[in-house]
């Protein structure tokens, strides 16, 4: 009974984090939200009696995937619409106008 309600709350938080990760324009925030999805997912795996999978998800999903995404963002751009802003300020000429 108490586990059911706990699972329900965790599921709501997880879906919210997933929607936030897709909707957010700032990629750094989106990546942190996807790390939160993995953390909640590992707790749900523990409730579903799969401790091996919970350990793997906690180590890989939370730590390693998040850090690789952050390094990729550091090497590229942080905002999703950064290119549009550059075009608006005429810093880049669109290929059709060349």
């Amino acid at each position: 009974m108490i586990y059911l309600i706990l699972t329900f709350i965790l599921i709501l938080l997880m879906i919210g984090a997933a929607v936030y990760a897709i909707w957010q324009k700032d990629l750094l925030y989106a990546v942190i939200a996807s790390g939160i999805i993995s953390l909640l997912l590992s707790i749900i795996f523990l409730i579903l009696q799969a401790p091996d999978v919970a350990l793997t998800e906690a180590a890989i999903g939370v730590a390693l995937t998040t850090i690789i995404f952050i390094i990729a963002i550091r090497n590229t751009v942080r905002f999703e619409d950064e290119h549009d802003k550059k075009i608006k300020e005429n810093k880049i000429i669109k290929p059709e106008e060349q």
Binding site: L55, A59, A63, L64, I67, I68, I70, I71, R74, N75
Partner: protein
Amino acid sequence: MKKAIILISLTILGVYLIDIFTGIGFGTQHFASGVKDAYLIGSKETLKVSNVVTSIVVNFRGFDTLGEVTVLFLASMALGGILYKKRHDVGERSVLFPSTRIVMSGAKLLFPSIVLLGAYVFIHGHLSPGGGFQGGTIIATGFLLMLITYRNYSVSHNRLSYVESFAGILFIGLGLAGYFINNSFLANIFPAGKLNDLFSGGVIGIIYVAVGFKVAAELTGIIYTVLHEKD
């Protein structure tokens, strides 16, 4: 327009999936007797391994694990090929910001215990939750902590590749030994022992230790390569 089409097709896919899975049912026994019971009884009676997931991953479906470790090795090799640099042209590590003294001493204090936890997890993989993949990733997170804290900390790529190849050769060698002695790949060649004993399960514990070393070396290599990518 495009978004509307995508939303409609995703809705159709969702309704279809929900229909299938409400038919299956949640938390019920789907089959009268199936693969599950065969694996559980085989793991308990013949292999003497108490963690059934370990016995499936290493013994019953050992070929899957061999293929998986190969795929991970290929991923690490492809990463090295894509992010290629000349030999002495290694750029500065992309540390997010310089770390303070507190973080430095904390990382130095935590690193040995993280590696010890990883080793514990993959040595006891056949007794408790855990195993080679989990222990290897925990060790890799320990190296990640040291690499992003200290600017001058580095991991020798040669040593990593030695660890990785010896672990792989040990895995395949034990499998081939099982083939020549007991007529099937990855068959048990050591005495099985008693259930819930550290030296139970024969060859399974040794193979999981090898998998742990291999996964730790591969993931550390992937992290090291990606961290050194800076223009």
